[in-house]
């Protein structure tokens, strides 16, 4: 009985994994398919990847995505870190209220966020383009940065900052020599998370992008309207791989940070 149940459970787990990853696996597989038609497998090839890198529109979209990603995640990291540091000094009641308001954008449907921002930008008569994209990306990635850094600050406790002050460091010196170095892994993890979110975002970008600011996800969506080509598969594969890599690196930084902390405090 026991083994039967064990088998059923492990079978179920495998089924779940297949369910989750089969579509992605097929997409990756067909990006290496020699045939232009997705349905049949005719042999292994790199040619779709090669043609991708020769495609100027793709390269332009990639450049847009990277520029917007880097700028928006730098801004989101700075603002998110500052917000996390500020909230720590509030009384419990105010920090709860402030945290709630900060985290709300995480659960608001993205389509609402996109729409709201589109309305705001057109009210302010801002031309849609890279600037509006960057502003929008900062808005949705900053809360994530703040969550990560707040967690790190909470782990750190107040002892180290008090010790620093006790030894004669002003609040600024304490921030510079003690707090920032200690939360740096969290800051890096937050930055990578913000960058990943920016790179992947479609819905909000769809609302606030302009004609000359097509990002990779928007470009893929545009291609798909003309049928799924092997180039789309190749491009999507690259996007998936880089996202996974970024998330893994971010996670390594986030863990490194909490492990350090546990062994010393």
């Amino acid at each position: 009985m026991k083994t039967l149940r064990g088998n059923a459970l492990s079978g179920y787990s495998w089924l779940m994994l297949v369910f989750l990853y089969l579509p992605i696996l097929i997409l990756v597989l067909y990006s290496f398919n020699d045939s232009r038609i997705n349905a049949t497998w005719t042999g292994f090839t790199w040619k779709w990847y090669v043609s991708l890198f020769e495609n100027r529109q793709v390269m332009q979209a990639l450049m847009n995505s990277l520029t917007i990603g880097v700028i928006s995640s730098v801004i989101a990291t700075v603002l998110g870190t500052a917000a996390a540091l500020a909230v720590k000094h509030y009384s419990l009641r105010w920090s709860n209220i402030f945290n709630g308001l900060m985290y709300l954008p995480i659960v608001i449907p993205e389509i609402m966020m996109g729409l709201a921002m589109l309305v705001l930008f057109s009210q302010m008569q801002m031309e849609l383009g890279k600037v509006t994209l960057i502003l929008a990306h900062v808005t949705f990635s900053m809360p994530f940065v703040m969550v990560i850094i707040s967690g790190r600050l909470a782990d750190m406790g107040k002892d180290l900052e008090e010790a620093s002050q006790d030894l004669g460091a002003t609040p600024w010196e304490t921030l510079r020599y003690v707090t920032l170095p200690l939360i740096m892994p969290g800051i890096i993890a937050g930055f990578l998370m913000a960058f990943t979110l920016s790179l992947d975002d479609f819905i909000i970008s769809f609302f606030v992008a302009g004609p000359n600011s097509t990002t990779l996800p928007l470009y893929i969506y545009g291609l798909v309207k003309r049928g799924v080509s092997p180039e789309v598969n190749a491009l999507s594969t690259l996007l998936i791989v880089s996202t996974v890599l970024l998330v893994v690196v971010a996670e390594i930084f986030r863990r490194k940070d909490s492990k350090n902390n546990q062994s010393i405090l």
């Binding site: 002892d159 180290l160 008090e162 010790a163 620093s164 002050q165 006790d166 030894l167 004669g168 460091a169 002003t170 010196e173 020599y177 003690v178 170095p181 200690l182 350090n260 902390n261 062994s263 010393i264 405090l265």
Partner: protein
Amino acid sequence: MKKIIHLDSIEKRFADTVVVPSFSLSIEEGEFLTLLGPSGCGKTTLLRMIAGFEQPTTGEIFLDEKPLSHVPPYQRDMNMVFQQYALFPHMTVEQNILFGLKMKKVNAAEQQKRLEEVLQYVQLTELRKRTPKQLSGGQQQRVAIARAIINNPRVLLLDEPLGALDYQLRKSLQLELKNLQKNLGITFIYVTHDQEEAMAMSDRIAVMNKGRIEQIASPAEIYNSPQTLFVATFIGENNIFQENGTNAAVRPEKIKLYPVDSDKDKHKKLGTIADAVFLGNLRKVFIRLEGQDMTVMAHQYAGDGLDWQVGDQVAIGWAQTDEVILPC
């Protein structure tokens, strides 16, 4: 003796709860003062007010007769040794110890000179390039002390600095700390809940209960002449006899046991041996008093020739001078 710290009508409230009711206290230069009390008695809050991490709700704290209420912690000429040491994990032993001098912009040559001295003093010279993680608890404790004393503070505040260490290490570090204090001549304000530690190290002990200082005196005076019931029972072991609206406290080592048929003039109470616990150098004998709901504890030393058994009838007595009368 010169006053170094004076607390003038200090009171601390959190929201509507009074944590430390109003009181005043003077601390003398070069003394080892211990704040002793059970956890939650306000001793750490008091220490944190002196360090500047908490503000007293009313009252003023003076250091060398200068009021401190508008002086932030980083400008107070005192240093604290934290309970969990609070060493900076991203710095080496050396960087940790030098942090205070760096912040005070002491010149590099002076920094190095003081560093060598202090490292020598706490015997950490070989471990100077390690990070705190690579040190044992006792070594971390030394770094915490070195990091504080390198600044030559007027006052050193210690918040249960030995609390996280095991018993043997604690014992040897007690003596080291006491010697350190004598040699450096720095005023120590030491917080602990361990009465043995307080007894072994302090010049004066302030016994705290529910935020109030119950008594402040030398260890011997605290032990021999407690002024309140709390002090009498919190420090060491004691027997409290309630008679005619007063409490009489008699230490177990002052209680003498007699067979019921001898020395009748010295008998004060009669009872039965309820239990006897062998502790090596002495036996703790518990006597159930006749007609009273009370158990008395007496210490019996080896070699008095009386081998009490559980169930024996016994008479107890003590000298009038060993009795401490306490207010109810």
